[in-house]
Amino acid sequence: MNYVDFKSPTQLDEARTLLKELGESASPVAGSTLHVFLKDESPKVAVDILRLGLNGIRLVDGVYHIGATTTVTDMLNHRQHGWVLDRVAEAFVTQPIRNMATMGGSVVRVFPWSDLPVALLALNAELVITGDAERVMSAPEFFATQPFHHLQAGDLLTSVRIPALVEGQGFAYHKERRTTTDFSRCTIAAWLALDDGKIADVRIAVGAAVPMPRRMDAVEDALKGARPGPAAFEKAMQAGIDAPRWKGLHGISDEYARHLASVHIVDVLTKAHEEAKGA
């Protein structure tokens, strides 16, 4: 990055005013890990947003509020009833990067290797943007395009809300990669809720092997109301597997990306079901 100056505000309003005044010539900086991939040589003023007190994980009325500057390590270390993002954080590259990268930085710009957007789609997250007024976007709305397009100068993502898992619900996440620093080939997250032994609700999201993370609507539709089990999961997977345009990355073919997804959709559904059953 070509930073020509830096600012270290300590209040949200101060940071927003700076970002608004400086417009295109400023950039919020959280964990700063993205500059490894984003070679932007235009002169910019870095606005450090790590001192605004936007970090922390709070459970309010059954919903987790995760501050935008909460690090991935904080998500990994958090232990509380119904908290599941530790399972995603564990798959997030390496310890030093988990120590630096934040929730906000990891969802505002989405890459094929981005773990959190896939999980947030399956978990029905809401994303809170603080601009001149506060806006709340659902995960499908937020990730329908590159999310930074939703942000005007002076807007910051300030928190992410996720309903805590309750009894009868399960969540699982799988990332297909060869080593910890390897880029993902395919990522799948599934959340499901049981009622009277049937699937009352389900959400499945896929990433890496598709242009942008997305929900698998046809798989979800095929599962709603069904009795869970290997046959139902396989049938639902078959019903939706050809909806996305699969894209093989890092030396794998499109067909193999589809194959990986077909295997892991069934796997994550099985794991989420096990948890929902209380196993």
Binding site: M1, N2, Y3, V4, D5, S32, V36, T94, P96, M100
Partner: protein
């Protein structure tokens, strides 16, 4: 360039530095004589540049120097030296876990951050916390033995 002054605690001593806004922490450390921190990949993939900032290991090749302003930074120079090595350094040498030595400062810093937080770290803890440290010489078995011997869970002392 627009030089600016930042102040942070480096190896237990508060110090001020004039920095360029786009300077990384490793560039600042090395140009001020803290050459124990090694630059390997420069892209966050190898861990040879690991230092401890506010108690956590980070990649100094990624963090900008300005982000260290007001924080506490620990480098290998603050951990121990030839005459008075840290138990982790002694353990690495004793176990034969060092060959070319390029990865060693990063491994010691990352392991120290873990042991400072969790003195009874398990093998699983070390595996998770050191998943970003590559060694191209030793094959990891000796490194694992050395680090584990410093955990209070295995009778060690860090």
């Amino acid at each position: 360039m627009n030089m600016k002054t930042i102040t942070f605690t480096l190896n237990r001593k508060e110090q001020s530095f004039d920095i360029e806004p786009d300077e990384t922490l490793i560039d600042l450390l090395r140009r001020t004589g803290h050459t124990g921190t090694k630059l390997g990949c420069d892209t966050g993939m190898c861990g040879s540049c690991a230092v401890i900032v506010d108690g956590r290991a980070i990649n100094a090749c990624i963090l900008f120097a300005f982000q260290a302003n007001g924080r506490t930074v620990e480098t290998i120079e603050g951990v121990g030296d030839f005459d008075s090595p840290h138990p982790l350094q002694t353990a690495m040498a004793d176990a034969g876990a060092v060959q070319c030595g390029f990865c060693t400062p990063g491994i010691v810093m990352t392991a120290k951050a873990l042991l400072d937080e969790k003195p009874d770290a398990s093998e699983e803890d070390f595996k998770l916390h050191l998943d970003g440290n590559l060694c191209r010489c030793t094959g990891y078995v000796k490194i694992k033995e050395a680090l584990l011997s410093c955990s209070s869970a295995t009778g060690g002392e860090s």
